[in-house]
Every structure is written in structure tokens, then in C-alpha cells.
């Protein structure tokens, strides 16, 4: 497990950082924050597609985590599962909030953050990429979560199972259904795979 030095005296691991943060140690919470802020932001952005709202929800996730970490109970699952669960719930609230739901042009919905440090980002912003993101956002929340954790965060099926509270077998099955559903959604919005394009030609 990764560790950092705390004042050059003792190493902090995620496990003891969580314990210490739950006992009110702000430095330990800071360690957790540094470790997860980008991942949580990334996850939220891929789910909602708006940079300001992703920042807003990320802030809420960490405020809520900070406020409730004292009552966090370690049930043997990764601490990240707790953070993703908070994010998942806040995203659901965001979708339910009728005031924030508005008609946004497709190109605005799919814009990646301007400061994302991917030099190749301009190249990636093809129509195909946009359709892919749109297709993902049309899936059910658990399927979206699975695809983002798998492809963005590069978690294994076992790790995703721990985060989502499902068995590895259930994740494999969900993954298969997610790909089929994504294919259906992509077809609906006009995406054609390279193979289909070849057939047409």
C-alpha cells in the first residue's frame, strides 16, 4: 500500500489515515483528499459532463465525507467505495434536481474540461468520442459506474465488485449487459462501428 511520510516521523497508509481522520485528525483527512480528489472528480465529470457542476459535486462529496467520517465504519471494503457511494448519491440528486436540468446543446454537454492535461485532447474530440460519451450517459447509473471504474480508473472486476458491493461474477455479468446496452444506445444516436462502416462501403 502506498504511503507518505508524516512530518518525517511515521508513515501514513490509507488504512490508518482513515482511522485517524475518523478520530478528527485533519492531516489524515488531507491525505485522503489528495489521494482521491482527482479520481472522484473524474468519475463525476464522466457521469454528468459539466465541468462547473463536477467541481461543485466533488466539493460536496468531500464536505460530506469530512462531516461524516467520524461515523465511518470499516466493513472490510475499500474506503474509496464509501466516497464513490457519496458521489453516486449526489449525482442522483443532481439528476433529480429539476432546476439544474436544462437543455444543453450536445457539443456543450460533451465538452471536456479545458484544462485537462491531455495534449491529444483536441484530436480526441471527434464526433465518435462525443457519441461514445453520450451513449455512456444514457445507460443506467450502475452500468455507467462500472464502465467508468473499469476504463477510466482501470480497476479490476474484483475491485469494482468491492466498490459496488457486488460479487465478481455479478460484475462480469453487469459488464456484458452494459456493453450490449451501450451498443443499443450508440446505434440509436447514430454511431456506426468501423466494421459497420466497412460493410456499408
Amino acid at each position: 500500500m502506498e504511503s507518505i511520510q508524516n512530518d518525517g516521523l511515521s508513515a501514513i497508509t490509507e488504512e490508518n489515515a482513515v482511522k485517524r481522520a475518523s478520530e478528527g485528525d485533519p492531516e489524515a483527512f488531507s491525505f485522503i483528499y489528495e489521494r482521491y480528489v482527482a479520481r472522484i472528480y473524474s468519475y463525476i465529470f464522466y457521469r454528468i459532463g459539466s465541468e462547473p457542476d463536477a467541481e461543485d459535486i466533488t466539493s460536496r462529496v468531500f464536505y460530506r465525507a469530512f462531516g461524516h467520517i467520524g461515523s465511518y465504519v470499516d466493513k472490510g471494503v475499500p474506503f474509496s467505495a464509501w466516497l464513490y457511494r457519496i458521489a453516486h448519491n449526489l449525482i442522483a440528486n443532481w439528476h433529480r434536481d429539476s432546476h439544474r436540468r436544462r437543455e444543453v446543446p450536445l457539443e456543450d454537454q460533451l465538452e471536456l474540461p479545458a484544462h485537462a492535461d491531455h495534449p491529444e485532447r483536441v484530436v480526441e474530440r471527434t464526433q465518435e468520442m462525443e457519441l461514445l460519451l453520450l451513449g455512456i450517459r444514457r445507460l443506467s447509473p450502475d452500468r455507467q459506474q462500472l464502465l467508468i471504474l473499469k476504463f477510466v480508473e482501470d480497476y479490476s472486476n474484483a475491485e469494482i465488485g468491492e466498490i459496488m458491493g457486488k460479487s465478481e461474477g455479478a460484475i462480469k455479468s453487469l459488464y456484458h449487459r452494459a456493453l450490449i446496452a451501450l451498443r443499443t444506445e450508440m446505434t440509436k444516436i447514430g454511431y456506426q462501428s468501423e466494421n459497420e462502416n466497412k460493410e456499408i462501403l
Binding site: G24, P26, F29, S30, Y33, E34, V37, A38, R39, Y41, S42, F45, Y46, A54, E55, T58, S59, F62, Y63, F66, L112, P113, H115, A116, D117, H118, E124, E128, M129, L132, L133, L147, I148, F151, V152, E153, L179, I180, L182, R183, M186, S193, E194, N195, E196
Partner: protein, 78 residues
């Protein structure tokens, strides 16, 4: 049978596309810094609040004990 094969090919191409397209994004460093600052300010407030909690409990327990003692003393005298 051919449909199943096509499905497999399509699914593989979709997986390839997903792994090529989806990658971690980095939030604005200013945002990370600003949120860190806000959380650290919140933590100072919370630490102060936590310090006052045990004192309140001791005070409350002392009051309850005192009232009980007075009531018990009166009952025994009566």
C-alpha cells in the same frame, strides 16, 4: 451464428474504443487548492467544536448528579 460472431466483433471493437477514449481527467489545480483550503478551515472549526463537547458532558453529568443528590438527601430527611 454469424450474428453472434458479429456481436463479438462489435463488442470487442467497443471495448477497444472505450479503453482508448476513456482516461482519467485532472481537475483544475486551482480548484483542488481552493477546496483543500476550505476543508482545512472547516477542520479548524470542527476541532474547536470537538474540544467543547467533553466539557459539556462533564458539566451535564455534574448537574444531574447534583440534582439527584439533593433529591435523595431530601427523601432521607423526610
Amino acid at each position: 451464428m454469424m450474428d453472434n460472431f458479429d456481436d463479438l466483433v462489435y463488442t470487442s471493437s467497443l471495448e477497444k474504443k472505450l479503453s482508448e477514449s476513456l482516461r482519467p481527467l485532472h481537475p483544475d489545480p486551482m480548484f483542488i487548492h481552493s477546496l483543500r483550503e476550505k476543508l482545512s478551515q472547516t477542520s479548524n472549526v470542527m476541532v474547536e467544536k470537538q474540544v467543547s463537547h467533553p466539557a459539556l458532558w462533564v458539566l451535564g453529568a455534574g448537574l444531574v448528579t447534583g440534582v439527584l443528590l439533593v433529591l435523595l438527601t431530601r427523601r432521607f430527611k423526610g
